[in-house]
């Protein structure tokens, strides 16, 4: 029985990941169109235009992936065949797995059973996320190398150098979070944000670690090689960087890895800084407003509300990332690296020290 539940939560986590990714594809296209004051993709239609209306989002969501997946799979001459197949797999697999530790709800109570709505309740959750992101670098390096193309190779090397530079900043931001909550388990951190500060304001992480939030968000965007940090795959510069020689589903897997990372950064920020699935004033048995008003709600509805809350927050942060991509100009590669090493790293270190000192001052002397 445990096995089935575990498989169920795993499936849900993966489905959230996949659905969000496909949705993001459409949101990106339409959203960028909105920002750039144009219409965007609206030509995909069913049955060759027989229907008098265009289903819009559905068509694009089906047509886009279908188009990509039915393209011919080309491996350039002289390329390493095994590595060419391996690279997109290695790019995507750790990112899928990261969603396994993201809590998308509190508990689902079915009869006597309490199911923790997190596919894997790892006590070292934050470290696991960091580990998976570290593994994501290989997709880029191997992808660039396996193509036997100078553009791809250089793109791959520059991309991976960028990724590892910003991983340190992310790690430091996450250290401050671990410092604040005293745990690495994402579900515990999400639960800890259910308390109220001064009886009124929900104790979300953003109030405790605003610097870490900014740091994590920026480093996350840089890690996923999105604009304004996307020189390694800048469409007008290095062709498609390390993705140049890929076509068909392998190409779509690299594009997916881009969107999955957007989703991961969004999921991390909501879980660590914005309460994850927490709805303000909502507890397991209903609402408890600060004025004393209590509304009892059945636990299934509570769970549903929490899952919806998580998804809404996830989308807000995905949208913010899309907004950032289409608003800011691209950083030059040396500016990019300088920013990662000379700005984010010292800020991260300073934040850790400051948080540590503040923590001890505010919570009193515990001594040795």
């Amino acid at each position: 029985m445990d096995l089935i539940i575990s498989f169920g939560t795993a499936l849900v986590a993966l489905l959230i990941c996949l659905q969000v990714t496909v949705l993001l594809l459409w949101v990106e296209r339409k959203g960028s169109a909105l920002i750039q004051d144009r219409v965007g993709a609206n030509r995909a239609n069913l049955f060759g235009g027989l229907l008098p209306f265009n289903l819009g989002i559905v068509n694009t969501m089906i047509a886009d992936p279908l188009k990509l997946l039915t393209k011919e799979d080309i491996i350039p001459a002289g390329a390493d065949r095994f590595l060419h197949w391996l690279a997109p797999w290695v790019a995507v697999f750790p990112l899928f797995l990261t969603f396994a530790v993201v809590p998308f709800g509190d508990v689902l109570v079915i009869g006597e059973r309490e199911i923790n709505l997190q596919a894997v309740g790892l006590s070292g959750g934050i470290l696991f996320v960091l580990a998976m992101l570290s593994l994501g670098v290989y997709g880029v390096i191997v992808g660039g190398w396996a193509s036997n193309s100078r553009y791809a190779f250089l793109g791959g090397v520059r991309g991976s150098a960028q990724m590892i530079s910003y991983e340190i900043a992310m790690g430091l931001a996450l250290v401050s979070v671990a410092l604040t909550y005293g745990t690495l388990d994402l579900q515990h951190i999400a639960r800890a944000q259910g308390q109220l500060m001064w009886g009124v304001v929900p104790a979300w992480g953003i109030f405790y670690q605003p610097v870490a939030f900014v740091l994590l968000f920026i480093a996350g965007i840089a890690e996923s090689k999105r604009a304004p940090f996307d020189l390694p795959e800048a469409e007008s510069e290095l062709v498609a960087g390390f993705q140049t020689e890929y076509s068909g589903s392998k190409m779509s897997m690299f594009m997916m890895s881009d969107f999955i990372e957007v989703a991961i950064v969004a999921a991390l920020t909501t879980t660590l800084f914005f309460g994850g699935w927490q709805v303000p004033f909502l507890y397991r048995d209903g609402f408890h407003f600060p004025g004393g008003l209590t509304v009892a709600i059945p636990s299934l509805v509570v769970t549903l509300l929490q899952i919806v809350s998580f998804l809404v927050k996830l989308f807000v942060f995905c949208w913010i990332q899309i907004l950032i991509r289409w608003s800011l100009p691209r950083l030059r590669y040396d500016q990019l690296m300088a920013f990662g090493w000379k700005t984010l790293l010292p800020v991260g270190l300073a934040n850790v020290v400051a948080s540590a000192v503040l923590l001890l001052l505010l919570e009193g002397w515990t001594g040795t």
Partner: protein
Amino acid sequence: MNPYAALLINAALCALVATVLLFLSRILGRRHASKVKYEVFETGNPPIGSLRGTRFPVKFYLTAILFIIFDIEVVFMYPWAVAYRQLGWFGLAEMGAFMAVLAVGFAYIWRVGALEWN
């Protein structure tokens, strides 16, 4: 249930989905071998020189080494952060010393210009 067993289930599922995705265009797409398609893209000109002879700036090597060093530093901070409240001021002092030494190193490499990219 052991969380690592759940992790294994997750990993198997993700690996399966990733593999299916990988081979989808092989299955769904067309396959016409044509010599031109297999040429490597270099804006129309035939590729010059072999990939093997590409000169590769040393800066990348330096970035990777510095990454390892700072990664190890960050990794030491995690157990410290989790047990921080038990370690108290002494813990802060220890980590402070650790970070100070590395900060000196960081300042040195900054001054020396190892973080420059042109």
